[in-house]
């Protein structure tokens, strides 16, 4: 068993899809060269079989809408004085601006300068997002 030190103040993002923790950090704009972070990747999960866990020391909050986009099944624990004082769930935002980019090479976003990357929630049941411009499904 590998031991990872607990954090006394900060945030624990649990149930992150296995192998995606670095990508999630990137989308959350958390700089791994500056923040104090513990990453646990591909660990056992009762719920999903395998998962990643992200612990961020001295962080007060996390963008739950961006998290909803990239890891909709994750959970967020807020830690104060070495105790979990609050549990938060990611939200599925109706609209997402400049978080992900459209992968469709025929999309106008691939050529037009200074254009916002806009996505909308097209299927709340599956968490599917589509590009506002070309309707291509988002690829994370």
């Amino acid at each position: 068993m590998m031991e990872v030190t607990s954090i006394s103040e900060g945030i624990i993002i649990d149930h992150v899809p296995a192998g995606t923790a670095l990508k999630v950090l990137n989308y959350l704009h958390i700089d791994p060269t500056k923040a104090t972070i513990a990453l646990i990747m591909n660990t056992t999960s009762h719920r999903y079989g395998c998962k990643d866990i992200i612990k961020i020391q001295n962080s007060a909050d996390v963008d739950l809408e961006v998290l909803g986009l990239v890891a909709p099944h994750a959970t967020v624990d807020v830690v104060k004085d070495s105790r979990i004082v609050e549990k938060q769930k990611p939200r599925l935002p109706e609209h997402v601006t400049n978080v992900i980019s459209c992968a469709n090479p025929r999309c106008v976003t691939s050529s037009e300068r200074d254009i916002d990357q806009l996505f909308h929630l097209s299927n709340p049941d599956t968490g599917e997002y589509r590009c506002d411009y070309c309707d291509e499904a988002a690829k994370l």
């Binding site: 469709n104 025929r106 999309c107 106008v108 976003t109 691939s110 050529s111 037009e112 300068r113 200074d114 254009i115 590009c131 506002d132 411009y133 070309c134 309707d135 291509e136």
Partner: protein, 336 residues
Amino acid sequence: MADKIPPVQLSKSQFNLVGRSVVTLDDVSAPQISYLLRKARYISDHLPEVSQAAAGKILATLFYEPSTRTRLSFETAMLRLGGHVIGFAGAQNASVSKGESIADTLKTVANYADVVAIRHPKEGAALVASKSVDIPVINAGDGGHMHPTQTLADLATLQSRFSRITDLTIGLCGDLTFGRTVHSLIETLCRFGNVKFVLISPKELKMPQYVLDRIKASQSCTYEEVTDLTAVIGDLDALYMTRVQKERFFNEDDYLRLRDTYILDAAKLKLAKPTMAVLHPLPRVNEIATEVDSDPRAAYFEQVKNGMLMRMALMSSVLGVKLPGFAEDDTKEVRA
């Protein structure tokens, strides 16, 4: 037969399209589509009366890729309303060749024109255009994405042939995978309901699942997928033929193999109802034999005229110009 355009029962603000851009047909409600169909029919019957309705208005046709038919249709529509036309066709002639963005081109043109029709090879270009300016922008085709006025032309043709756009069995034949016109037509007809779709295609060019899901989500529309046109042609009220588009294929061999799968000729037409209407968004390659052109069931050149009439109806609506004698309220129409 009495016309059966679904009744327009809207307050003035609800069918008011003044100043609105039309990027997709989602921007236009079903009652507003009915209103446009009624307006186009009025225009068809009253061309002299509406010939100066948009006098002093200017349409800019910004065509970043060639589409002679659509551009001429928009331009003729504006000229027949008494307005003027400026624009370019082909990006090599435009400032885009110097690297100008769509947004900047639109912001410039908005100082000259009252309404814009834009065609662009990139999907979503019309949305970019419409977000850039306050004047109405009409999407005249953005890549393989949307072409709302083509769908309006298709609806107007069904309306003129059958006096209704519901309670029909409509066959859609050919390239159902990449054919944006058929996707848009199905989605729009599903908003009105009571249509049976017969989807005729080779297995490589079947209808995408999201379109099938849209039909399933409709309360009253149904579909069946088949590969043999001759087996079903006798059941159809309308047959919408599509071109297998070379530009949608990366592989020349696949294109050539699939191009000739369905060709509508006089022999196949013998199996069809005498009242069936043959539609096609044009241009055709070889999917409809020229011998069909003289058959009264051929409706595809009529569709071109209906496209112009619907563009007249749409542009006069977004510009907010009054058509003499046309009653905005269904019950007050004045017959000239």
